[in-house]
Symmetry: C2
Subunit: 643 residues, 2 copies
């Protein structure tokens, strides 16, 4: 048989497995899977260089299935190759056709959508929330460039999915950074979930758009293996393959629009398979017999190696970043110290890369960008993309720091959640958080972020780490050391920094830890707990209270998941009274302390948070007063708590 007929035969054979596994699971998207089986089979049997027995090989070509719900197609093709599944090399085993029927089961590596963390290492990132795969592919391509491997990265994107703006952010990014190793394959089957795909996502429209975005565009019949192979030949520019396909190819039973995400019933299954047999007869092929070769092997390669992470002393790093005068003046914001730490880290460890969204001169990623431009990737004003790019680069062993204003990162929360599911080792840095930003106003202030990130910090990622460890340092020393902690910690972290330049509170060699806190003052009347910028405000309050003979303990609780035991212990020495002060909406520190206090019982906790939508004002002090967080407000509540 010709190669194209071989692929037809293989696609038909695997289509039957797709029907069976989705029927067995009672859920899944067989019609989407059937539309990409020629593409998947051609990629995995002819085009991609990889070893199904070693999916961890860092030189192998990669496939990112952006259209995650079509995953049964890849599961079937991978089982056909006896590909290795397992969470690590120790538990590795070959996937068999029999395993396919465990699709979506609790103990199966075949999750409902691509999920490498559950034991399918052929993939690099969890997908299924749409529009993120092209960015992940870009991240893998960045890593390949840094690691000097010639791996290619293919991604399959649904036509309907290409409506997601992130696809276009990624398309720009890939051209900006000349990531020609990325190939985007648009699966144009014309059907969405609720209705047909818009004409704005027709194969013609997508071809015109990708061309306007600067890509080489090749439109093909996505069920013709010869055309697929030709379209995937490398070019000088990144390639967009516009593949016209049929949803539910070969199975009329699946063609109807209403069949999105519906498997055949047990009763329909035989008829579905018979349809595929008839298609085989029509095409003159015999499924089950295959002369297709195994994929070509890549040269083995190793991911970037871990170096020692010996912390550079604070003073040296600040000096190196040009911040010695700021330290001298005792006015140095947490965002600046983050920049200094990132620079020091970048010099100490080649795995560290940085991404930013056109605000590196505000987040202070610019110190790194200027000193180590080859590992800095400017994402421009497109936050969703840089988060998913980071997840891709992390999958290849890099440690990406992604920075923007904390407020703007909120548009990438779904991407952050997908990175959490991927267990991506990425570090997210949100600057200008809270109301202390003042003049720029609420459109730039992040107020929900603490609740959001704390939420993830209290769940386990299955590898003994929080889903996302969170840091909210109050001064430059704390921000500096927390950044180092983040780099050393294997798992997602979030760092929240502020705009104002603030005094330094800690000795340069103070130790910090995930979930840690420090006592900054000790009293007997009440314990005030705060973090970030508000620690400075609370310090003022403590000093004021002392003038009226009230001695308060002040705790800087700079990290989630917060270890509350030391705080409750401190509060036990202040008549069990705790006042918590935050510059964000509810859901953060006050909650963490209250949960711990209410679990143990016997404490009185009062939380102060941002109680109204802020607005512009000239100074942080004015906004603090506006939202009920002035020193006077805090003093009032402290005295009320004392009673």
């Amino acid at each position: 048989m010709s190669f194209a007929r071989e692929i037809d035969a293989k696609a038909i054979e695997l289509s039957k497995h797709v029907l069976r596994m989705t029927t067995a699971s009672g859920s899944g998207h067989p019609s989407s899977a059937l539309s990409i089986l020629h593409i998947v089979t051609t990629l995995m049997r002819r085009v991609m260089r990889f070893d199904p027995k070693d999916p961890w090989n860092a030189a192998a070509d990669r496939l990112v299935l952006s259209e995650g719900h079509a995953v049964p197609a890849v599961y079937a093709a991978y089982a056909d190759l006896g590909g290795v599944v397992g969470r690590d090399r120790a538990s590795a085993r070959s996937l068999s056709f029999d395993d396919l029927k465990t699709l979506r089961e609790l103990n199966s590596p075949l999750d409902g959508h691509p999920n490498p963390a559950e034991g399918f290492p052929f993939f690099d990132a969890a997908t299924g929330s749409l529009g993120q795969g092209l960015s992940v592919a870009a991240g893998l391509a960045i890593a390949a460039r840094l690691s000097r491997t010639d791996r290619r990265v293919f991604t399959i994107i649904g036509d309907g999915e290409s409506r997601e703006g992130q696809i276009w952010e990624a398309a720009d990014f890939i051209v900006d950074h000349r990531l020609t190793s990325v190939t985007a394959i648009f699966n144009c089957n014309g059907q969405g979930q609720a209705a047909g795909v818009s004409r704005q996502q027709s194969s013609e429209a997508l071809a015109a758009k990708m061309s306007a975005f600067g890509w080489t565009v090749r439109t093909i019949d996505g069920h013709d293996a010869d055309q697929i192979v030709a379209a995937l030949a490398p070019a000088d520019k990144p390639i967009a393959v516009i593949a016209r396909t049929v949803k539910g190819w070969g199975v009329d039973l699946l063609h109807d629009q209403s069949n999105h995400g519906k498997p055949l019933t047990e009763k329909q299954l035989a008829a579905g398979e018979a349809e595929l047999d008839a298609m085989a007869v029509k095409l003159g092929v015999r499924p089950g017999k295959s002369d297709l070769p195994l994929p070509a092997q890549p040269a083995p390669a190793a991911p970037p190696q871990q170096r020692s992470l010996k912390t550079v002393p604070f003073a040296n790093a600040m000096n190196d970043a040009g911040l010695a005068p700021a330290v001298e003046k005792n006015a140095c914001g947490t965002r600046r110290a983050y920049g200094a730490a990132l620079l020091a880290l970048g010099k100490a460890d080649d795995r560290i890369i940085a991404l930013d969204g056109d605000v590196s001169n505000s987040t202070f990623a610019e110190y790194f960008a200027k000193a180590i431009p080859q590992r800095f990737f400017e994402g421009k004003i497109a936050e969703q993309n840089i988060v998913s790019v980071a997840a891709g680069a992390a999958a290849a062993g890099y440690i990406p720091f992604v920075s923007s204003f904390a407020k703007f990162l909120a548009r990438a929360y779904d991407q952050i959640e997908m990175a959490q599911i991927s267990r991506a080792n990425i570090k997210i840095v949100g600057s200008h958080a809270g109301v202390s930003l003042a003049a720029d106003g609420p459109s730039q202030m992040s107020l929900h972020d603490i609740a959001y990130f704390r939420s993830a910090s209290h769940a386990d990622n299955g590898r003994g780490a929080p889903v996302c460890a969170t840091f909210h340092p109050s001064d430059a020393v704390a921000a500096y050391h927390c950044t180092w902690l983040m780099a050393a910690h294997p798992g997602m972290c979030f760092l929240r920094t502020h705009r104002p330049d603030t005094p330094i509170l800690y000795k340069a060699d103070t130790e910090f830890r995930i979930g840690g806190s420090h006592v900054l003052a000790t009293g007997d009347a009440l314990t005030i707990v705060s973090s970030g910028y508000m620690v400075h405000v609370c310090k003022e309050v403590v000093e004021n209270l002392a003038k009226s003979g009230i001695n308060a303990t002040l705790v800087d609780a700079y990290s989630f998941p917060l270890d509350c035991a030391p705080i409750l212990k401190a509060a036990a020495a202040t008549k069990n009274r705790i006042l918590v002060v935050e510059d964000n909406y509810i859901g953060g520190l006050a909650d963490a302390v209250a949960i711990a206090a209410a679990e143990s019982g016997g404490f009185r906790v009062y939380g102060m948070t941002c109680k109204r939508i802020p607005k512009s004002a000239k100074t942080p002090a004015e906004v603090l007063a506006y939202v009920g967080l002035s020193p006077r407000d805090i003093e009032f509540e402290a005295k009320r708590l004392i009673g």
Copy 2:
């Protein structure tokens, strides 16, 4: 003078005000403002039909300044017209040139970025987080079509800003819905914040892209008023004007890249003004003298009128939606009841519109879509856009319901926050939340959403309402009535629904309220508090506990900001013991109860939340066991709490 020279003169005059006001405020973005002053002046003096004395006129043309940081340009042009500012008609007054120097002050209507809620009603939505204005414009255009007014909607978008994917989502949406009343003006000054704008956002690239997206494209010199007027002439397709401009036009002092977001110093101000004077001489114009006419007046029009919102009885509405059999079988999910309520609301009130992201057959917005297609707007797979479109439509008096999977809405959280700042009366509905989704796996499960939305529910929007009221109903009756509550409540709301079909717990005419809860069982051993799907699991637990002689109180706490007093009162009758159970990450119900308990003191509260990243499994029960929330787990903790 010719019209173009008149505009030159006006732009120069207003540029001086921009310099002065930003210098006075000590912050702001004069260079961006100067790049759009010809466009703004031409729009506001020649093209737009509006009455500066009545910015609330529902027939007037609108300007959405997507590039929010350039707002001093609009403030200056509006002051020049004596435009009316104020939070409502009662407090309305004319803006003067003197007022401009209050830019960014606490008591000024001139917030750092466009912020209609602080008293600048010329705008419809807060902007400043970039990439959202074109969607807002689309929402205004939808409203105009429904209200049968011929208002045009202009939006100014920065070139760097057009990197945001949402711009391209909006571009598709506007073509899909033939919203030819929208005109997008791209301000191509070539400079971003940290560096120059990418070639991917050059005027040529943007022209090619917008053309590929199906728009009429007109490239002009953005400082030539004649060209601006010509480019803004209506066309059959929506128009994209690609305006080549100069950042800091007329003021060399501002041209340098590093000047983004930096006003002139007091010392530089005179030199800046002198540069503008020199420009006037060069162009042969005399700033300060103007023969420009006032804008053309639109016909007065009224926004859509409020009708009575008499609740349709549950049974009637369910029957109308075809759900009588589901009710009969006692298996009807909250998402279905939402669909029935939306349909009933749509029939009862013309202000109700619905938007969905290609999942209306999952969220059950489809009942509305089929019955009232003229008020249903399919947004396809692009969640950011539909949220901002809703904000735009709400500004024109409509009540939009926006639905998708709760998980996918996380990519629109920044858009939701901007809508909060706008005080947009929009209703957000997230389906398939929590771990009960099971088979589809974590990429489709929303776990952070409760923490996120609760966070906003506890702050005040300045109009006596929560920033976002949140509902998490446990059964069809509750979901039905909560949807009606949302429609009647003037302010943002979030509704969280689940996939599974569950039994009905409430009588059809039960009353619900914001912050409310209901006691479903009364005991003496402990109080179990839950919401949504977990209420059913807890009900099973309560029944099991009863078998071993332990009588628990069960509270369904379905709304935030939660009124905790009744819960603490109930708990007082159960020895002050409270167990809270949630199917999401921490930050929600347990926190709310713990905060209240710890404030009052004397209670013991233990919270159970989703403790690890879930995965696929065949049934909700399997996933619940996997994440530590099975009935057995809950029973164990209940007994432990009793001691």
